[in-house]
Symmetry: C2
Subunit: 147 residues, 2 copies
């Protein structure tokens, strides 16, 4: 069976969001929320633009998806994000009881995983989809910052 | 020296916010952000009203305080909250680099402390101010829920 919708399909959409962040001088992280192969929300990191530390891609995507669904729980949804969520975002994902989280590349410094499993016990986790592209986007952003 | 502004003064303001939450059928948690003895932001939990898991008192107070200050960092501020923050809120507080966090009563189930120190290493922590009042408000909310 030909499957039109794969994790890679949706991670590419999250990657596009990350590219928008880069164009706006933000740390390039993007996220999408998907339910039954439909994208409910797209968002990218806007902490500089909104002058708000809570405006991470995942947080904005969670709020937008809940608005779209009319439900604060995202039981049947998958959140795709280009970088491992931080503890704030993992904690928010816990409250949503989201079905799956898929992230591309780990964040050894500020990723949630070093603090244990902050996600909901029922949430499935997948990693490594488009890992190199998403990691390269982050590296090039920080290299340019240092110049 | 008579000190007009104590931790108790500001925790009482957070407690008032928690009472507003209770009146609206929300889990009764309130928060205020204070800088140089001036309250920059007041907020209470609005997850039901806004249909958004991210609308915790602390998150709303952080965003409002940053708007008020024109700075996403809350280096010179203290956040008062009636209940121990969850990992989402502690993670957000980490990003703000807030000077102090004062909470009234612990949350053994969903508080951040069982996951380690999710706050910024420079953030000072104080607990137990108005502990009984804030704990009683939570207990009475959940007892009424069960009826």
């Amino acid at each position: 069976m030909l499957c039109l919708y794969t994790d890679e399909t949706f991670m590419k959409e999250a990657f596009k969001q990350a590219q928008y962040a880069l164009e706006e001088g933000e740390i390039p992280i993007g996220a999408v929320v998907v339910c039954n192969n439909k994208i409910l929300a797209r968002a990218y990191n806007q902490t500089e633009k909104l002058n708000d530390v809570t405006a991470h891609a995942e947080m904005l995507a969670i709020t937008a998806a809940a608005n779209n669904l009319g439900n604060k729980y995202l039981h049947d949804c998958t959140l795709y994000v280009t970088v491992e969520p931080c503890p704030m975002c993992a904690g928010a994902l816990h409250w949503t009881q989201v079905k799956r989280v898929v992230y591309a590349t780990a964040d050894e410094k500020r990723g949630y995983r070093k603090f244990g499993n902050l996600l909901h016990p029922k949430t499935q986790l997948e990693t490594g989809i488009l890992q190199h592209e998403c990691a390269d986007l982050m590296s090039s952003f920080f290299q340019n910052k240092r110049k």
